[in-house]
Symmetry: C2
């Protein structure tokens, strides 16, 4: 039995920071009542615009997120930030202690920042990050930034859950740009070449543009913007490009289509989660552990045992 | 309807190279009859010893795999190699064309090499790599090496599906060793510090040992071996360490426990795959697309629609 958190959806809808923070904990830890809470939250979502920021470790995503949030604040918009830190075993990722502090905005009442780190399943993290974004949306934030280190499919999923997805690269990423074609071209609405004061910046921009050139025609052509996030160079242009992409999506009806697709994916995930939980009842766990010996000694096979378990599930 | 491959399990069991190659294609492309084929294959598995080799891009895993295979060949053992290339969007991975050729063994009749690249789901790739290993096992190979670039959970899963898992690092990996603690400590049965003639090798070995020192006590303590795979230095010691780990597992009964755990995981995967396919029938796809508008206009929620779909599935 999970611990029960007392929480008040109305206080979340009113934007109360403590209530929002507790609500995200409820969702992150899948405590009792989180699904019922998310059901209530859902009716208040859909107002915020969601921006995904992804890219390799060291590309300066946190700094860019920080400056972009500052930019929105100066326009009078409130901002929610979900920073996802998948501590991948090889790429390292940023441990929470190493994070670039978002010094410009972290004490600002109009900005809510939440870091989420993966312990275990990245798939689960992706789901929780999107649910946390729902909570921030329902709390009245105008802009939600989903920042994530891109090291695999699940992390791309997080950024891809945004309305506009920005892929941040640096001149040093040049070598791998060719290799990264496929996955990134699918999710990037535009690219930012950060640390553009470093050697090789123009060449990197060229390489990305070369790849973009081969992209099949569509009404929106991803662009490459240069930036130096650390001193704010190019941040206004990035915000302008996000706005341009947003009006493109709204004008063409693609925003609704994108959000509908996201909802369908969400429903498929909920179904898969629920089926897994319902399936692995005490009874079927017992069948698995008693029959596994038959598989170990080759009198049955994994395939036969899987079928047996499924028949048990569907015939009860 | 998928294309039907004609294949003969008996020829696979006899070690016929063409039959083995076609069988892996059958499995990799999930062609008609692959499950029935794998069911037959299963009864012939369990004889081969599976070695997982993983590590960051550029660590020299292919070279080490090549030399290790050569070492086993000289002992009169047959070797199967599954080289998995998850072309992660950011780390780049190795495109197949860039692979280090396994020149020492690729023309050897006693070695079967198969590269598998990810197109799309890594989870699916992990499953297929393990099934391909089953085919090689059933074909009579003594040693199966599962080599994979480690960039995320799914790739670790592949290496973790081995009896003994070797994590290969290089002196340059030093910086990220701290960060990679968690995931690697779980899967590494021992470490190889490759390119040990480079500066910083001893320091890197020390860093890894420091982390190992904090590992909770168990009957097997992971070690760190130095190697220069390109000229074969340390390869015999690596093979000896694999053998030592193997006898440890056999002596303590852990090999059977490990394999039982793997079978249970396999069954859980088979169940999840089958449920997903059965669930998303034409009827329920139709329900989803007709009711999604109610979710879009907030007269329903993703949670309610998911429940409705599940009730439909379980009550029919």
């Amino acid at each position: 039995m999970a611990r029960k958190l007392s929480f008040d959806p109305e206080r979340v809808f009113a934007g109360d920071r403590v209530a929002v923070s507790r609500a995200i904990s409820l969702v992150e830890n899948e405590l009792d009542g989180s699904e019922e809470f998310l059901r209530r939250v859902f009716s208040k979502t859909g107002r915020a615009y969601r921006v995904g920021i992804t890219g390799p470790p060291g590309a300066g995503k946190s700094t860019l997120t920080n400056k972009l949030a500052l930019h929105y604040r100066k326009q009078g918009l409130s901002v929610g930030i979900i920073a996802v830190d998948p501590t991948s075993p090889f790429t390292g990722g940023a441990l929470l202690g190493d994070r670039v502090r978002m010094t410009d905005v972290e004490l600002d009442e109009g900005v809510f920042i939440r870091s989420m780190a993966s312990r275990g399943s990245l798939g689960g993290l992706s789901k929780k990050a999107r649910e946390a974004a729902d909570v921030l949306d329902a709390s009245g934030k105008d802009i939600i930034i989903l920042e994530t280190v891109g090291v695999g499919q699940s992390e791309l999923d997080i950024a891809g859950a945004a309305d506009t997805t920005v892929v941040v690269l640096v001149p040093e990423s040049g070598d791998s740009i060719q290799a990264m074609k496929a996955g990134l071209m699918e999710i990037a609405d535009f690219f930012v070449l950060n640390k553009a004061d470093r050697a090789g910046a123009d060449q990197a921009v060229m390489s990305i543009k070369m790849i973009l050139h081969f992209k099949s025609e569509s009404a929106w052509t991803p662009d490459v913007l240069k930036a130096i996030a650390s001193d704010g160079t190019g941040v206004a242009e990035i915000a302008a490009k996000v706005a341009e992409h947003r009006s493109h999506l709204e004008r063409t009806g693609k925003l609704a289509a994108k959000r509908q697709h996201r909802l369908e994916e969400r429903i498929r995930e909920l179904v898969a989660d629920r089926l897994r939980i319902d399936f692995w009842s005490a009874e079927r766990k017992r069948i698995l552990s008693s029959r596994i010996q038959d598989v170990m000694n080759y009198s049955s096979t994994p395939y036969d045992l899987a079928h047996e378990l499924i028949n048990n599930f569907r015939n009860q």
